[in-house]
C-alpha cells in the first residue's frame, strides 16, 4: 500500500502522464553546444542532427544520398555540382527553405569567425577546395570545385561537419553570435539544461524526405513521438538502474552488460556493427618495430579471433581491413587477414634478431572502447610467443597526446567512424615528418589514396582499396581487429529504434507502444 501510494506521488510529482510520449535517451556526457559543426563532439552531433539537415546525408549502409536536395547533377568535367532542392521544406520558424538559405549557411560556415570544424576540409588546406558557390534560382544551388573529388559529397555528409546543415538566418542573434538551431529537422530545440538534459520537441511542420522507411539520415524521417529527452549520465551503474526502473528508454551499453540486460527482461538489446575501428598501432619509427619482420611477428602472434571474441563478448567479427565490415567496398579481398601462426612468429623473430627487448603497449580504461581488454589479451599472446611486453595504462587525454606526437611503441587505439574508405585510410596514412600521428608512412599508399579521392568510378575505387589492403597487410603498420558493435538497450515500450553504422541514435520513426 505504502509502495503504491509513494509511487503514485512520485509519478504525479514528475508529471509521468505527460512523459508517456517522451522518449528518454541516455548520453554519457552533455552536449558541447547547439551550434552545428562548431563546438562539437559525438554526442553533440547526435543531438543536433535531429534538428538540422544538409543537402546530402548518409544512407543506412554509409553511401551518400540527397537529403534536402531532390537530385544532384555533376558536370562532365566533374567540377560542378548542381543541387536541385526539395520543394516545400520548412524551417522550425515556419519559413520555407530556398537556395538563398543554403548560400547564406555556406558563407557563414566558410567565414573564419564561425570556427566551423570542417572549414579546412573545403578551403583547400587539406585537398578539397570549393572555388565558387551560387544560387541561380530559389530551387537550385551550385558548387564548383577546383579539381574533381570523389570525396566531396561524402565530406558534405559527414556528421562531424554537421552535414553542412542548412540553417535559417534567425539562428544567429543580431550581434552575430549563435542563438539556437533553426533548421529543417524533424525535431526542434525546446530546452537545454547544461549538465542535465536536452529536450527536443516534434516539429509539426516537418516535411520528410521521400521513402517508405528510415534509411540512415535520409529516407522517411517522421517524428512519431512528441518529445525526446537526451539526459547526460556519466555513470554506467546509474544508466543500468535507469533502464531497469523504466526511467530511461534508450541507452548505449557496454558489450559486457549485454547478457545481464537481456536477463533483466525489462529491455530489448539491439546491436549493429559501426564503422569505428579498434586496432593495435605499431610505431614504424621505433628502432625495434621499424623492422617489418618484427611487426609481422607481432601480427602472427595474435590470435585475433580470440581477442575479438573476448573484447566484444562474442558480438564482434574480425576485420583486419580499414574498410568497415558492412561497407559496399568490403569485398573478398578486404576479408583477407592475418593468420595466428606461432611458428611463423618464432621464425620472423629469429630473422629480425629479436633479443628479448620489452615492448611497451599503451592503453586506456575508457568504458566506451575495448582498449584495455584488447591490450591485456595481446600482451598475454605476445608473451606466449616469446615477445616481452608491458602495458602502460594512461588516462585518455594523455594517450591522445602520445598518439598525436607518435610517442609510443604499441598502442591499443580506436579510430572514429569514417564511411568512405579513402577517408578511413586518410585517418592513419601520411608522412610522419609532417603529421607524427600518422601510423602508415608510405608514399605509394599516399598516391593511391589521392587517386581514390579524385576518381568516382566505383570499380576503379574498389581496385585501389583492395590494393591498399594487400599492401597494408604486408607492411603491418597497425593491426585492425574489428569494427565496434553498437549495443543499445531499449525499453520494450519503444518501437522502431535501431542502432546503425554511424553510431548515433536516431529518434525519428520511433514510437511508443500504447
Amino acid at each position: 500500500m505504502i509502495r503504491i501510494a509513494t509511487s503514485a506521488l512520485v509519478l504525479a510529482l514528475l508529471g509521468a502522464t505527460a512523459q508517456a510520449q517522451t522518449v528518454n535517451v541516455a548520453l554519457n556526457a552533455d552536449i558541447r553546444s547547439t551550434n552545428p559543426g562548431v563546438n562539437r563532439d559525438d554526442n553533440t552531433d547526435a543531438v543536433v542532427l535531429h534538428m538540422v539537415e544538409g543537402l546530402v546525408g548518409y544512407r543506412e549502409n554509409g553511401a551518400v544520398a540527397p537529403l534536402l536536395a531532390e537530385k544532384i547533377d555533376l558536370s562532365s568535367d566533374g567540377l560542378t555540382y548542381t543541387f536541385h532542392l526539395r520543394k516545400g521544406v520548412k524551417f522550425h520558424n515556419g519559413a520555407e527553405m530556398s537556395s538563398a538559405d543554403v548560400l547564406w549557411s555556406w558563407k557563414r560556415y566558410m567565414d573564419a569567425k564561425t570556427d566551423w570544424r570542417c572549414r579546412p576540409e573545403f578551403d583547400g588546406r587539406i585537398g578539397l577546395k570549393v572555388t565558387e558557390v551560387a544560387a541561380p534560382d530559389p530551387a537550385t544551388f551550385v558548387m564548383k570545385l577546383e579539381k574533381p573529388s570523389a570525396l566531396f559529397l561524402d565530406t558534405m555528409a559527414r556528421t562531424d561537419c554537421a552535414m553542412v546543415a542548412v540553417l535559417h538566418r534567425d539562428s544567429i542573434k543580431p550581434d552575430g553570435s549563435w542563438d539556437k538551431p533553426i533548421g529543417t529537422g524533424p525535431f526542434q530545440l525546446a530546452d537545454w539544461r547544461r549538465g542535465e538534459y536536452v529536450l527536443l520537441k516534434r516539429f509539426d511542420g516537418y516535411v520528410s524526405p521521400p521513402g517508405d522507411r528510415r534509411d540512415g539520415y535520409v529516407g522517411s524521417k517522421r517524428a512519431l513521438v512528441s518529445e525526446v529527452k537526451f539526459l547526460a549520465i556519466a555513470d554506467g551503474a546509474t544508466v543500468k538502474a535507469g533502464l531497469v526502473s523504466g526511467a530511461l528508454d534508450v541507452a548505449d551499453i557496454p558489450d559486457e552488460e549485454v547478457a545481464e540486460m537481456k536477463k533483466a527482461g525489462t529491455v530489448q538489446v539491439l546491436a549493429a556493427p559501426s564503422a569505428t575501428k579498434h586496432a593495435l598501432l605499431l610505431q614504424t619509427r621505433d628502432p625495434l618495430l621499424s623492422d617489418v619482420r618484427m611487426r609481422q611477428a607481432i601480427a602472427s602472434a595474435l590470435d585475433i579471433d580470440e581477442i575479438v571474441g573476448a573484447a566484444s563478448n562474442g558480438l564482434g567479427q574480425v576485420n583486419n581491413s580499414a574498410v568497415y565490415i558492412t561497407s559496399p567496398f568490403h569485398d573478398a579481398v578486404q576479408k583477407k587477414r592475418y593468420a595466428h601462426d606461432p611458428a611463423r612468429t618464432k621464425k620472423l623473430l629469429a630473422e629480425a634478431g629479436y633479443k628479448g627487448e620489452t615492448i611497451k603497449l599503451i592503453a586506456n580504461k575508457r568504458s566506451t572502447v575495448p582498449s584495455y581488454p584488447v591490450a591485456i589479451m595481446a600482451q598475454a599472446m605476445l608473451q606466449a610467443a616469446g615477445i616481452k611486453s608491458e602495458i602502460e595504462i594512461l588516462e585518455w587525454a594523455t594517450q591522445l597526446d602520445r598518439y598525436s606526437k607518435g610517442n609510443f611503441q604499441m598502442m591499443s587505439f580506436s579510430y572514429s567512424a569514417r564511411l568512405d574508405p579513402a577517408q578511413s585510410y586518410n585517418q592513419f596514412t601520411g608522412p610522419k615528418d609532417k603529421m607524427p600521428s600518422k601510423v602508415w608512412d608510405s608514399r605509394e599508399a599516399d598516391a593511391l589514396i589521392e587517386k581514390a579521392t579524385l576518381i568516382s568510378d566505383e570499380a576503379e575505387r574498389r581496385a585501389i582499396f583492395d590494393q591498399l589492403h594487400t599492401m597494408m597487410l604486408a607492411d603491418a603498420p597497425l593491426v585492425f581487429l574489428y569494427n565496434q558493435v553498437d549495443t543499445a538497450a531499449v525499453a520494450k515500450r519503444i518501437q522502431g529504434f535501431a542502432p546503425w553504422v554511424a553510431s548515433k541514435p536516431r529518434l525519428w520513426e520511433v514510437s511508443v507502444a500504447k
Binding site: 512520485v10 514528475l14 588546406r125 588516462e395 594523455t398
Partner: protein
C-alpha cells in the same frame, strides 16, 4: 569582530595566489591538449593550429597566466573551452546545487551525530556505546559511491519510491526537486554521521575525565545538567572545527555522489573539466573551492565565542 574577519580574509590572499599559480602550472604539466581532445583523432595540423590560436593556447605560459590572473582580479574567470560558457556564473550555478545537498546533509548529520556521540561517551563501554561506535565505524568505512548505489538499488529499483536518474531544481518544482535530492543527501548524511559521531564521542570523553566535572557531580547536579551544561559546551569545540573542515571538503568535492545520482554539481564540473583539460574551468573551480574553504573556516572561527566565551574574536 569585523577587523578580525578582514584580517583573516587578507591572510587568505597569499594562499589563494599560491593555489592559482600551482593549479595553473600543475594542470599544464599533465600531458594532454584541450584542442587535441576537442578534435580527437580527426585533428589535422591545420585544424589544430586554428583551434589552438582561437583558444589562446598558442601564447607563452607566462602570457596566458598574466591574462588569466589579470581578468580574475576584475572578476572575469574566463570562458570554458568546451562549453564556451562564462566560468564564474557556471561555477556559481553548479555550486548552488552542491551546496544545498552538502549543507542539508551536514546539518542533519550534526543534529544526529553530536548528541549520539555525547551519549556514547556518557555511557562509555556500554552496549549502547559499542553499538554506536560500531555503526559509526561501519558508516565511515563504506565508500560513498557504494552506499549511493545501494540506496539507488533499494529506494529506486526495489521499492520504486525515488527517481533514479535526472535532476529537477527545487526552485522550479519544490516537491519533485526534494525527491531527487533525498538519496544524495541520505548518502552524505550517513557517511558524515560516522565522522562527526566519533569526534563528538572522543572530545566528550576527554572532558568527562576533567576535575571540574567531578566537582559538578559532587555538588549534586543531575547527570543531565553535568552532561549538557558543563561537559557538552566544552567538548563541542573540536567537533565544531571538524564540522567546518567537513563542510569545506564537501562543498568542493562530492563528485562521486554527483556522478552516481546525475546531479549537475561543482564536483562533477571539476572532474569533467579535468578530463577535458578545460583549463579556465579547472583554475576557476580550484580557486573558488579554496576561497570557499577559507570562508567556511572563518565562519566556524567566528562562531567559537558562541560556544566557548573564553574564545574571543580579537
Amino acid at each position: 569582530m569585523f577587523r578580525f574577519a578582514l584580517t583573516r580574509i587578507g591572510m587568505a590572499l597569499p594562499t589563494l595566489l599560491i593555489v592559482a599559480v600551482s593549479v595553473f602550472v600543475l594542470i599544464r604539466l599533465i600531458p594532454g591538449d584541450p584542442a587535441q581532445l576537442m578534435l580527437g583523432d580527426l585533428a589535422t595540423p591545420a585544424s589544430l593550429a586554428d583551434l589552438r590560436a582561437r583558444l589562446g593556447l598558442d601564447q607563452s605560459l607566462p602570457a596566458q597566466f598574466g591574462i588569466w590572473i589579470g581578468n580574475v582580479l576584475t572578476g572575469d574567470f574566463g570562458q570554458s573551452i568546451s562549453s564556451q560558457q562564462a566560468v564564474l556564473p557556471l561555477i556559481l550555478q553548479r555550486f548552488a546545487v552542491s551546496a544545498q545537498i552538502v549543507l542539508v546533509a551536514v546539518l542533519l548529520a550534526s543534529l544526529v551525530a553530536v548528541p549520539a556521540g555525547v551519549i556514547a561517551a556518557w555511557k562509555q563501554d556500554s552496549a549502547l556505546d559499542l553499538g554506536l561506535v560500531a555503526t559509526a565505524t561501519l558508516l565511515l568505512s563504506v565508500p560513498t559511491f557504494w552506499l549511493g548505489l545501494l540506496l539507488l538499488l533499494f529506494f529506486g529499483l526495489k521499492l520504486g519510491w525515488l527517481p533514479v536518474v535526472g535532476y529537477v531544481s527545487i526552485a522550479e518544482n519544490p516537491l519533485a526537486g526534494v525527491l531527487y535530492l533525498v538519496m544524495p543527501i541520505l548518502t552524505l548524511f550517513l557517511h558524515e554521521i560516522g565522522v562527526i559521531l566519533r569526534m563528538a564521542r572522543a572530545s566528550t570523553l576527554e572532558v568527562l575525565r576533567l576535575d571540574y566535572i567531578t566537582h559538578a557531580r559532587a555538588k549534586g547536579l543531575s547527570e543531565g545538567a553535568v552532561l549538557w551544561r558543563h561537559a557538552f559546551k566544552n567538548a563541542f569545540g573540536p567537533t565544531w572545527t571538524l564540522i567546518g573542515l567537513v563542510l569545506g571538503n564537501l562543498l568542493g568535492g562530492i563528485a562521486v555522489v554527483e556522478t552516481v545520482f546525475t546531479i549537475p554539481g561543482l564536483g562533477r564540473l571539476l572532474v569533467d573539466a579535468i578530463f577535458a583539460r578545460d583549463y579556465p574551468v579547472i583554475q576557476g573551480c580550484m580557486l573558488f573551492i579554496a576561497f570557499t574553504y577559507v570562508l567556511v573556516n572563518l565562519v566556524i572561527d567566528l562562531c567559537y565565542p558562541v560556544f566557548d566565551p573564553r574564545v574571543t574574536a580579537q
